[in-house]
Amino acid sequence: MLNRDVSKWTTPKKIMFYTAVIILLLVELFPIFVVISTSFKPAKAVFDSNPFAFFNPTLKNYKEVLFERDFINNLINSVFIALMTSIISVSLGSLAAYSLSRFDFKGKKSIGLGILISRMIPPITLSVPLFILMRKIGILDTHLVLILSHISFILPFIIWMILPFFKGVSKAYEEAALIDGCSRMQSFIRVFIPLVAPGLVVSGIFSFVYSWNDFLYALVLAGSKVQTVPIAVSGFIGQFGPKWGAMTASGTLALIPTFIFALALQKYIISGLSVGGID
């Protein structure tokens, strides 16, 4: 604990430490390595159990996924649904967070807690009534139904994630705007939005990834006409003759946005995680 600077350690200790770090990384990243390497394997090599065996890398699996299957459509569906969900959740969420952070009013505490606790409800619980209700309205298997169902778990999360950003804005800015004759709405748009913009971007990306990763609602509420990426990925592993090459290729493509997000937003991830964990 006292000697936290490894560069000042003795050489044998250094070697031991770095060896342990490398082993930890190798073990932990192994399944991801398997997915990515399998995606470049020719059909025969896929069924070679040795994960380190040499093979001639090929793009055949990607070609199959992108050009012979409907995967491009699945990507478009997922991007569209995730974008709409993020835009709606962030806009409504920031309005709500503004209200919760700047006003004192009756019922504030119970509304805030209700929103927070609703985040903890397992989605499988909502899937049953949502399926019945959306079937009655007649919007099963549409983009809209997935956007609505994603909002149900993303919006509460967004409100809590943006709240600290709004609380961090000094009251003086807002008072100045109000004295200058701005209405509350004007002060929200002109003063708050620019100041909390980083928070809005980060929570927008969080909601994009949550929507992107959703499998349950995509399975229950849609799945035949409107297929999203996770449904398509699992679709390659049917009951007969699992297509691991295609599955890993589409899986690798599905991982790209989430991994970019995870590596780029390291700083914000902890605050996001501590509001609601990961799905």
Partner: protein, 304 residues
């Protein structure tokens, strides 16, 4: 002279309207979010509660029938329900506690300045962001006795390949291993965030008074870390209660019902058997379990 009172009256009117405006504004800003949540969250939840008091098989084409507590009586008498509860509790307990131990050990181990330390931490966190479906399928691939990578290692060690997913107990172990692999980095990240900000003074004092490593861990690190541990564990428990897709694609609850945790039990009853009232009842049991943990979390972490 009649001017003055008029003016005062005007200001008081203005004040009154401003007061009214200030009363109504916060609700105005909240209402779009609350309206949509009422539609997609609150109403479905209430409807599901209503549903749980009805007997309704959607596939039969018959109308919903009020049955009061029948669904709840049925589920408390159902062996497969208790089996799912048991699996759910073991799943949550085993995975979260092992994730805590690994996460804590790695957080202490990596709490140093070293070459590429930020990159190492970022890479370790990647599994937590992998799509659950991809994770589940990747493990299903690696568990395969003929061509799976995990079984390649087992064969290299000189053992016979293990058919993980076709043996009830092993299949359950397999889904727990998958969860541990994916989620211990989450524990690690939350604990590391806390541990890296600890003050140095108590450690220096302990070293001067000759405390050994275990004593330092037991009497300094652990007490300082306790609040973060509590939060991380509750968050992970709530998260593990939501587990569905990775298990659905790995085993679909099988073999038999060896990995049918509550979410899969609900899914099967609702979307394989269309027994909507019964599955609404089961899902309320799950909600109650989740709410108990949420209340702890709310009390620990959040305040206005």
């Amino acid at each position: 002279m009649s001017k003055l009172p008029k003016k005062t009256r005007e200001t008081s009117l203005k004040k009154k309207s401003l007061w009214f405006k200030n009363k109504i504004t916060p609700y105005g800003f909240l209402s779009p979010a609350l309206l949509i949540l009422a539609g997609v969250l609150l109403f479905p939840l209430i409807y599901s509660f209503f549903l749980s008091f009805h007997e309704w098989n959607m596939a039969s084409g018959e109308a919903m029938k009020f049955s009061f507590l029948d669904n709840y009586i049925k589920l408390f008498k159902s062996e497969s329900f208790w089996h799912s509860i048991k699996l759910q509790l073991i799943f949550v307990g085993a995975s979260v506690s092992i994730e805590l131990i690994i996460g804590l050990a790695v957080a202490i181990f990596l709490n140093k300045d070293f070459f590429a330390d930020k990159l190492v931490r970022a890479l370790l966190l990647l599994p937590a962001f992998i799509l659950p479906v991809v994770s589940g399928l990747a493990f299903r691939f690696m568990y395969n006795p003929q061509y799976g990578a995990i079984n390649w290692f087992i064969k290299k060690l000189g053992f016979a390949p293990i058919p993980f997913l076709s043996h009830p107990k092993l299949a359950f172990l397999a889904i727990v291993i998958q969860d541990i692999w994916r989620m211990w980095p989450f524990m690690f990240m939350i604990l590391y965030a806390s541990i890296s900000t600890f003050p140095k003074a108590p450690y220096e004092a302990a070293k001067i008074s000759g405390a050994n490593r275990w004593q330092i861990f037991r009497y300094i690190t652990l007490p300082l870390l306790k609040p973060s541990i509590v939060i991380a564990v509750i968050l992970r428990v709530l998260n593990a209660l939501k587990a569905f897709s990775e298990i659905y694609v790995m085993t679909n609850g099988g073999p038999g019902n060896a990995t049918t945790i509550l979410s899969l039990f609900i899914y099967k009853n609702a979307f394989d058997f269309y027994d909507m009232g019964f599955s609404a009842g089961v899902s309320y049991i799950l909600v109650i379990i989740a709410l108990i943990f949420s209340v702890f979390l709310v009390k620990k972490q959040f305040d206005f």
